[in-house]
C-alpha cells in the first residue's frame, strides 16, 4: 500500500538520525570518566532515548506538532570548524541598554571573548566547568537531572550534556544585574544539531533575572534541543525571559523544568516571534506551600511558522497559585498550539490556578489548536481556564477608523494592544522597550507614538 510505504520511509529516515546519535554516544563515552556518577545518569538517559525515539504525532503530547520534516536533515552533532564571530556580528542581540552578565555560546562552544561571567559571591559560569571541577560536585549531585522528566528529548539532551549555563545564586543574594544566556549558531556546518544544558540553582531568599535567547547567524538549518533546570529554594524569586525571534531556518525544542520550594515566586515570559518550528515544554513543580508560578507568552507568527506551547503546572502542595496568560496572533498559514495542563494533587488544597489563552487569526489559512487539560484530585480549589479564538472586533476597528486611523494602522494598533497587555508584568524596563519594538516591528506598522 502506498501510504504504508511512506510511513516506513519516514521511519527509516528518522532512524538514521537516531542511529547517528546513538553511535555518537558510543564515541562520546570514550571521553567520559569511569567513576563519575554522571556516567550512570547518561547511560540511563541514552537507554530511554533508544527505547522511545523521537516523539511522533501518535504521542498525545505531540498531536499537533510533527518533527518529521526536521528529522530528515542530516545534522552535524558537533562542529570542529573555526568560529569567527565578532562582537559587531552579535552585538544587536545583547541587551545593550544595560549592564548584564553574559554567557555566550557559539555552535555550542563557550566564547570567553563575548561573555562576562563571575565567581564573585555568585557563580555565573559554564556547565562544562561545573561537571568537571570537584568543588561543584555537591551541587551537581544534588540538582543535576533531578527536576527533568524522562521524556525522550530531555533524555537525549541529558546523555550528551556537555555545555551550557551554570548559575548558582547563594542564599540571600540579590543579583544586581540580569544574566543573559545567548546561544548563537554560525552556519559553519550545513546543518547543526545543538543541545545546550542549563542548570540554575537559586538559593534561599535569593533573587535573579535571566534572559535566554537562541539565534542563528546564517540561513543554514539549525535544530536546538535545549534543557534548562531551575531550582528555587525557599523564598527565592526567579524572573526568566525567553526571546524566540530566530530566522526561518532555525527550530527549537525548549524543555524547561522549574522546581519550586515553599514561598517562591517563579515567572517565565516566552516571546515567540520567529523560527521555523518552536516547541516549548514548560514544566512547573510546586513542591512547597505558598508558591507563585507565572507563565506568560506572546506569540506572533507569519508565513509557515509553527509554535507549540506545552505547559504543565503540577500543584503538589497546598495554598499555591499559578497564573497562565498566553496570547497569540497568527498570520498567513502559520500554526499555533497551546496545550496547557494543570494537575492538582489530592493534598494541594486551597490552590488558585488560572489559565487564559487568547488568539487572533489574522488570515483565513492560519490555525490555532488549543487544548486546556485540568486534572483535579483535591476538592477545595479554585481553577479557572478560558480560551478565545477570534478575529478583529469590527466595532473597535470602526471606532479607531472614525478617529482618522487607517485600516492597516487600526489593525496594527489592535494587535499591538492585544499583545501589549502581557508586557505589563515584564520587570526589566529596557527589555520591555525591546520587546515592545519587536512587537511593533513584527506587526509591521509604524505607530504614532514613541515606544
Amino acid at each position: 500500500m502506498n501510504s504504508g510505504f511512506w510511513i516506513l520511509n519516514s521511519e527509516l529516515k528518522e532512524m538514521s538520525f537516531k542511529d547517528k546519535l546513538l553511535s555518537s554516544y558510543i564515541a562520546l563515552e570514550d571521553y567520559l570518566e569511569f567513576d563519575s556518577p554522571l556516567h550512570d545518569v547518561r547511560n540511563n538517559a541514552i537507554k530511554i532515548f533508544e527505547e522511545k525515539g523521537f516523539p511522533t504525532k501518535k504521542d498525545e503530547e505531540w498531536k499537533y506538532t510533527s518533527l518529521n520534516s526536521l528529522l530528515k536533515t542530516d545534522y552535524s552533532v558537533y562542529s570542529n570548524k573555526e568560529r569567527n564571530v565578532e562582537l559587531q556580528d552579535v552585538r544587536k542581540y545583547f541587551l545593550n541598554e544595560m549592564d548584564t552578565y553574559k554567557l555566550v555560546f557559539i555552535d555550542g562552544v563557550y566564547s570567553s571573548f563575548l561573555s562576562e561571567t563571575t565567581h564573585d559571591t555568585l557563580d555565573v559560569c559554564l556547565m562544562s566547568a561545573a561537571l568537571n571541577k570537584k568543588k561543584y560536585k555537591p551541587v551537581i549531585e544534588a540538582y543535576f537531572n533531578k527536576a527533568a522528566k524522562s521524556d525522550s528529548l530531555t533524555a537525549l539532551n541529558t546523555a550528551f550534556t556537555k555545555e551550557g549555563a551554570y548559575i548558582h545564586i547563594p542564599a540571600h543574594k540579590e543579583v544586581e544585574k540580569p544574566i543573559e544566556i545567548l546561544n548563537f549558531s554560525t552556519g559553519n556546518e550545513a546543518a547543526m544539531f545543538l543541545q545546550p544544558r542549563n542548570l540554575i540553582v537559586v538559593g534561599e531568599n535569593a533573587h535573579v533575572q535571566i534572559i535566554e535567547r537562541h539565534q542563528s547567524l546564517s540561513t543554514n538549518e539549525v535544530l536546538t534541543n535545549s534543557v534548562t533546570e531551575i531550582f528555587a529554594e525557599k523564598r527565592a524569586y526567579v524572573d526568566y525571559y525567553k526571546i524566540q525571534n530566530d530566522v526561518e531556518s532555525a527550530s527549537l525544542i525548549d524543555n524547561t523544568y522549574i522546581s519550586q520550594q515553599r514561598d517562591t515566586v517563579c515567572r517565565v515570559h516566552t516571546f515567540s516571534f520567529g523560527g521555523k518550528l518552536v516547541r516549548n515544554n514548560l514544566n512547573y513543580f510546586q513542591n512547597g506551600e505558598n508558591c507563585d508560578s507565572t507563565l506568560k507568552g506572546i506569540t506572533i507568527l507569519k508565513g509557515k511558522q509553527h509554535v507549540d506551547h506545552n505547559t504543565l503546572v503540577h500543584h503538589i502542595s497546598p495554598n499555591c497559585e499559578s497564573h497562565q496568560d498566553y496570547k497569540g496572533l497568527f498570520a498567513d498559514s502559520s500554526v499555533g498550539v497551546f496545550n496547557g495542563k494543570i494537575i492538582v494533587e489530592k493534598d494541594a488544597q486551597k490552590i488558585d490556578a488560572y489559565q487564559q489563552n487568547d488568539n487572533i487569526l489574522i488570515d483565513d489559512n492560519a490555525t490555532i489548536n488549543a487544548k486546556p487539560q485540568l486534572e483535579i484530585f483535591a476538592d477545595d480549589v479554585k481553577c479557572s481556564h478560558g480560551c478565545t479564538i477570534g478575529q478583529f472586533d469590527e466595532e473597535a476597528l470602526f471606532y479607531l477608523r472614525s478617529r482618522g486611523i487607517g485600516m492597516k494602522e487600526a489593525r496594527g494598533l489592535m494587535m499591538y494592544a492585544f499583545a501589549n497587555t502581557v508586557l505589563e508584568s515584564v520587570k526589566i524596563p529596557e527589555l520591555k522597550v525591546r520587546i515592545n519594538k519587536l512587537i511593533a516591528n513584527k506587526i509591521g506598522v509604524s505607530l504614532g507614538f514613541e515606544l
Binding site: 472586533d393 469590527e394 466595532e395 473597535a396 470602526f398 471606532y399 479607531l400 477608523r401 472614525s402 478617529r403 482618522g404 486611523i405 487607517g406 485600516m407 494602522e409 487600526a410 494598533l413 489592535m414 499591538y416 494592544a417 492585544f418 499583545a419 501589549n420 497587555t421 505607530l447 504614532g448 507614538f449 514613541e450
Partner: protein, 249 residues
Amino acid sequence: MLKIKDLYAGLEGKDILKGINLEVKAGEVHAIMGPNGSGKSTLASVVAGKEEFEVTKGEIIYENEDISELDPEERAHKGIFLSFQYPIEIPGVSVTNFIKTAINETRKAKKMDDMPASEMLKMIKEKAAMLEIDRKFLSRSLNEGFSGGEKKRNEIFQMAMLEPKLAILDETDSGLDIDALKVVANGVNKLKSEDNAIVVITHYQRLLDHIVPDFVHVLMNGKIVKSGTKELAYELEERGYDWIKEELV
C-alpha cells in the same frame, strides 16, 4: 457644510433611515431628538461612515463633496467626528498613545509631518485641564474600566484634540451626572466657533440647556418629521412625542 438629501440607509436590505433631509451650516448647532429606535444613532453612524450600514438612496454632501463612498478614516481626515454613544474599550493602548496616533495619522493623510512632541504635550495638557481630566487618567488603557461619565468625557477630550469641523455627539449626555454634564457641555461650548458645526443627538432636553441649539429636529421612524428652534425641545420634554404622531395623521 453638511447637506443630507433624501437619504435612505439600513441594514441587510431593510431601511432604517427613510428619506432624511438635513442641512447644517458652519457656526450652527443642531439637535436631533426622537424616541428610541427612530434611527438617531444610525444617522450618526452613516454620516461617520460605518460600513455595516448600506446607503440605498440619496446623498451625503459635506463641503460640496458626496462622501457616501468614503472610508470612515477619510471622513475623519476631512474633519468629521463622532462622539460614540458607547465608546469601545481597548486594553493595551493608553488614552495618550491613542490620541497621538489619531492626530499623527490625520496629519499624515494631509501630507504633514508628525506633530512635535512638545506641541502635542502642551495641547494634551491644555485640553485635559479644560475638561478637568486628571493626568493619571491619560495613561490608563483606552476606556477600559472607565465609568460611563469618564468614557463620555474622554470622547469630548478626543474631540478637543482633533478639532473637527463637524462634530456629531451621539447621546453624550447619557450616563453623566449633572456636574459631569456641565463640564462636558462647557468643553463643547468652548470648541464652538463660526467655522465648525455641532449636531447633538439626545433623548432629553437637559443637555440643550447647556449646549443651546439653533435648530431642533424630531426624528421618527427614519424621517425628520418636525423642525423648529430650541423651544421645540421644551415642548417635547413637556408633552412627549405622541402629539407629533397625532399631528402627522
